[in-house]
Assembly symmetry: C2
Homo-oligomer: 333 residues x 2
């Protein structure tokens, strides 16, 4: 579990998109985002106070989070200097980068010297159990997608927020590196060894009070041949009471696989629901979350109305319209 | 890839079942099984020539395969003595034990000293790619089970043998430690990191000639919540043209999960076939393989006849009756 609040390191981000991890933290856990640290040439701005390391520590920052992708997969000397200063000032460092902090001798030495921690959130930190499929108390919702990268994390975070706004006890359960950095904890599921995937999801979403909802971050897609096994483990380890179907209507083929068409929402539902009912016979599909970023407001509204008439359940874009209707559908189920 | 032929080490097996790895090699790759080495008190016998290490090496043995489970998860001093002698005589050592050869300093030292190899077949030896789902040439068959441990490996080996008997080019593709020791190569799929599972199966079963069959060893079950993600990766990475449903009719609940009933064969087919058709729209279920060990000959025959009338496809116990009809069904598809 990462110590909060964070100083968000934006480095020399070449554009705002490169800082999407920082943006996620700012959007979803603003109470963790104390300030930002930008290097010369940084093209991203979270509209947070710019801080030096000394200022951040003085104001209580506990962890420097690398909120930006690095260029060319190398942690540059400029970055290393900053990270070392942060450790010298007593901060932990957290990163979701592919190349690991713990592979950088300078950082490992500095962490030992200053008795602070390096968190590579892509690396599992726990020996997860083998799943046992036992029914757990509390309720669970899992977004499943017609493809990878259609907005499952965003959907889960938005539902979690909408439940909390209704004073319903809820936790977003992160299963990927961005989600883990946003919430400070979770399971990097795609890095877990096959035999322990379902058990890791069970560990992530333990018994809870009857009215509590875990909103579990989805991964992959049952229709994406590269990663469907991870999705399967989420469905069986997650034991969802409710599935939300996630979709991006302008995508022409499965992400990275031009030889695969996307399934329809009906096809996804026909495959996902029987699988979910193996572990939770009461599971229902309660709504559809659509990423309508490619549409105008009018197009989005027209698309969602048509889809809702077809699917006969709430169909919303949580970014455009919020997740209130999905939260209401969850509470009704 | 393990060097053949093998000397099968049966150790101090407390009963024949403990030596099932050795039995598998003897049954399915007798040409690899040069002889056996038994310690005092060994209750297993492969009916192979008993050999000392010197005799085995003289007759050409290249690898000592640990064909027996160890007691209490410890590699005993007695075993270590034998393994060290085998290495001194120039043999590699291969093992599917949970506790690894490479965790034993004595063995690691001896391997370096004698320039031989230690193969822990539970540990992936390859950096597998991420799966790409591209259609591969050649044909593939995958057994899928109503549960774990219902005879999927046996079924695959029996089909492979029946195809070879018909001069059809065929390979058994091992995905578990016993299968890897039997054939000398394969992927220990349950130890592969989640993101690479499907890619590992694609790697295991590459492009081949159009008439060639890969018979891929199954793992887990779509209905077994602990391991269904592994099964899913096999279905999507394996890209099967043909599925064989595997079943053990007297089992009262899912293995290790008394709170889960077994699905019917129809339920398994209804879930598995649409998933397989995502990567291979031509995929068919060509038959059922039943483990009738708990039945008399008469009961088995009656059960299979009734099942065949119900399923309208060949239903056989390959152990009792051979896999000829499954092989014929494959060739017809």
């Amino acid at each position: 579990m990462l110590k909060t609040p964070y100083l968000l390191f934006l480095g020399d981000a070449p554009d705002p998109l490169a800082a999407k991890v920082a943006q996620g933290i700012k959007d979803w856990r603003p109470e963790h985002a104390l300030g930002q640290l930008r290097l010369e040439g940084c093209q991203a701005d979270m509209r947070l106070p710019d801080m030096t390391i000394a200022e951040a520590v003085e104001q209580g920052a506990r962890t420097l989070v690398i909120g930006v992708a690095n260029r060319g997969g190398v942690i540059s000397e400029r970055w290393l200097d900053v990270l070392e200063q942060a450790m010298a000032a007593g901060m932990d460092i957290a990163s979701g980068l592919h190349n690991l902090l713990t592979d950088e001798p300078r950082l490992v030495d500095a962490a030992a010297r200053h008795q602070v921690a390096l968190f590579d959130v892509r690396v599992p930190q726990v020996s997860y159990p083998i799943g046992d499929g036992k029914k757990r108390t509390g309720k669970r919702c899992l977004p499943v997608g017609t493809d990878c990268s259609v907005g499952k994390m965003y959907t889960a975070l938005a539902i979690d927020k909408a439940l909390k706004a209704r004073n319903v006890p809820s936790d977003f359960r992160a299963t990927g590196q961005t989600g883990i950095l946003v919430t400070g904890q979770g399971v990097p599921l795609d890095a877990v060894v096959a035999d322990f995937m379902a058990g890791a999801v069970e560990w992530l979403s333990p018994d809870n009070t009857p009215e509590h909802w875990d909103i579990i971050e989805g991964q992959g897609s049952l229709y994406h041949p590269s990663f469907s096994g991870v999705t399967m483990a989420l469905i069986h380890g997650g034991q969802p009471d409710a599935l939300v179907l996630c979709h991006e209507p302008t995508r022409t083929h499965m992400r990275g696989l031009p030889h695969y068409e996307l399934p329809t929402l009906e096809q996804l539902m026909a495959v996902a629901l029987p699988l979910a009912r193996i572990v939770n016979p009461a599971c229902q599909v309660i709504g559809v979350s659509v990423n309508t970023a490619a549409f105008s407001d009018e197009e989005a509204t027209a698309y969602l109305e048509e889809l809702e008439a077809r699917m006969k359940m709430p169909c919303v874009d949580p970014f455009r319209h919020g997740a209130a209707r999905l939260a209401e559908a969850l509470l009704a189920c």
